[in-house]
Symmetry: C2
Subunit: 207 residues, 2 copies
């Protein structure tokens, strides 16, 4: 029999096998909050914490999505929805690959966030509300966007001229005025462990 005619039963590698190899159960941690709330900072701190424990991670945010996969999209409601749809699809593939994915997006619409959650499923989704008050975010204004929005140079800016729908029941709500990013990260990792995504017992490496 020629090789080309063989029916070859290959050892299929699926999510279970990849998860076993990486010794973790992949999942998506979604950080939502106002512009300047500290979402990316805390997400990066969570990634650093997990990495230090030997876990395979990735961070998705506007910086690596808006210039690449979503470079064809603007900021209309429709484009924002498509942006989050693509983020959800990429995250789902990465979670299927076994990774812990941190995603930091303003994501002001509760409906849009629910759609992302539905795509991932309860077992692979955690919602973290980075609940920095508007006045604190505006006081920081690291990119000068709030000032521009107040002057009317930026339209549909969440918190100023567009609504932010805070999550009613997030898995974790973080008060960034009281907590240092590393402390916030610890809280997130604790919730992940409580969900059975990883084990904390004695795995922490000394830094």
């Amino acid at each position: 029999m020629e090789p080309s005619n063989l029916v070859w039963s290959q050892p299929l590698i699926g999510a279970t096998e990849r998860s076993r190899l990486l010794d973790q159960r992949g999942g998506l941690v979604w950080f939502t909050g106002l512009p300047g709330a500290g979402k990316s900072t805390i997400a990066a701190a969570v990634e650093a914490d997990l990495h230090g424990r030997g876990h395979a991670t990735y961070l998705l945010d506007g910086d690596n999505l808006r210039h690449g996969l979503c470079s064809d999209l603007g900021f209309s409601a429709e484009d924002r929805r498509e942006n989050l749809r693509r983020v959800a699809e990429v995250a789902a593939l990465m979670v299927d690959a076994g990774l812990f994915v941190m995603a930091a997006f303003v994501s002001p619409s509760a409906e849009d966030r629910a759609r992302v959650a539905g795509r991932l499923g309860d077992d692979h989704w955690l919602e973290v509300h980075v609940a920095t008050p508007l006045e604190v975010c505006e006081g920081r204004d690291p990119k000068g966007h709030y000032a521009k929005a107040r002057r009317g140079d930026l339209t549909s800016f969440t918190g100023v001229s567009a609504p932010y729908e805070a999550p009613a029941a997030p898995d974790l709500r973080i008060d960034t005025v009281a907590l240092h990013p590393a402390q916030a990260a610890e809280a997130v990792v604790a919730v992940m462990a409580a969900r059975g995504w990883l084990s904390l017992g004695g795995e922490t490496e000394p830094d």
Copy 2:
């Protein structure tokens, strides 16, 4: 000083750190060839081989892309180009995460493939031509697409009513008539090792 006013210098986790943790240098292996050439079969065999050696992997193909991230796209030349653009962007993110990504797509246009290669960069891209002859692919016709295309029920079908531009200088050309998928996979892994993406020395686990 309040935590909210701290400038926090976080330990940044980048591609280098992730690559070190996974003990591999992420990269994309692109499988191109006619419909029915065996691209997905060989890509899955490569994934199984790498997984058996302890490597973190993922397989991208029409099955997990066309129904999700690219579900809004059809098969016009423009949509095919956008499809491959998104595949390239997702693969680039996964490679940045440190994974070995296998991508199996007909990708008949040399220009489109060159665009994907350019997005990844020479250090993270390998092109494999699954060079099964048209008559063999058509003889297999596992999905009945060739028959449909010959009857005119499928238009713009690569190999029948649309051109396939074979790679002029692929990193590897596989003769699937002579090679069993597992042998083809070995050849691909050998090229990956030759490129320094992984080490073969004594790492192979007995099956």
